[in-house]
Amino acid sequence: MKNTSVWILTLFFIFVSSAGLLQAHKLEVTLTQHTPVLLVEAGYSGHHHGLSAADVFIYAPGEAEKIFQTGKTDEAGKFAFIPTKAGEWRVVVDDGTGHRSEKALSLGDDFFRGEKAPPSRAQIPVLWKVMVGVSLLFGIAGILYGVKARKKSK
């Protein structure tokens, strides 16, 4: 492969990456505590509106197989329910086209007393994830190229 070809493909890759970094496509679910209600919000990351009419499945603590409650998100991509006990509540959101996201939240007794929940941990920015992924892919290709070239020269 000529050097020019590599440079042109690299240019094309940079174009795709920069367009990709402006957006993201993951189905994201956030759970927020509003005693006595747990609010589920679903939406595709990068979209400014919520995901409406998605199926929501709620699983109570200690009951991994049995559905506690089911329903659909409203026009704003929201769904709310009232947890009945402390423990880890699991929420699955499915849009019916293959996108599915699951989130779990541990509720302590403080939730039922109406105390404010601690802020959730910050997520890793998409840019970092892209940089990690691309670096690893180029690294793997580089190692394979080196190994193959070495074998060829022997």
């Binding site: 990456s17 849009d95 086209t97 293959g98 599915r100 892919l137 793997i140 290709a141």
Partner: protein, 193 residues
């Protein structure tokens, strides 16, 4: 386009994983040294392409570049698709890790279909490029819709296919533009079939 974990049965997912790992080995092993940089760049492009998405009818469809991978790499696109999907699953949670094999088979089928379309000599290059890009999305979408239909999941095959026709059209036009650019800038990138 990326199937999440928990939708298809575990047995099917594991069988597909075994097939895709086998395909990775067979087609990856045969790769020539001079093909590796092209494969690395395409894997990186596929990895980020899924971030470019379009809201369609209340859901979200995204680019895949599987057609372009098929044109440029032929059967070598299979290990490239495998690697890109693995990293998408690990870093972006696009598609499940257990169903990685199913996703690899679906999307590699799109790349392979594109490769065969690209080789139809009597058809003008621009039309071949568009159809290859279109098939690169539509073939995986059809396979995914069939898998959903068989497992009794989702909103139905016609709904899913109508969503992806739009994505396929966008991808077809994009592939046509990219192939046109490569033809002008450096025709050596395009394989001489």
């Amino acid at each position: 386009m990326h199937i999440a974990d928990g939708i298809l049965s575990t047995e099917i997912a594991i069988a597909a994983d075994a097939v895709s790992v086998g395909a990775l080995y067979v087609f990856g092993k045969k790769a020539r040294t001079e093909e590796i940089p092209k494969m690395g760049i395409m894997a990186a492009a596929l990895f980020v392409a899924s971030l470019i998405h379009f809201p369609v009818a209340g859901t979200s469809v995204h680019l895949g570049l599987f057609g372009l991978a098929g044109i440029l790499l032929g059967f070598r696109a299979i290990p490239v698709v495998f690697t890109a999907l693995l990293f998408q699953s690990l870093l972006f949670q696009h598609g499940g890790l257990l169903v990685l094999g199913v996703n690899v088979i679906n999307m590699s089928a799109g790349a392979v279909a594109a490769y065969f379309i690209w080789r139809i000599r009597p058809v003008p290059e621009a039309l071949r490029a568009f159809l290859a890009g279109f098939a690169g999305i539509m073939v995986p979408a059809l396979l995914m819709a069939l898998e959903f239909e068989l497992s009794g999941y989702g909103r139905g095959i016609y709904y899913l296919m109508s969503l992806y026709v739009i994505a396929g059209g966008i991808e077809g036009v994009l592939t046509l533009i990219i192939v046109g650019f490569f033809r002008k800038a450096d025709p050596q990138i395009l394989p001489p079939y």
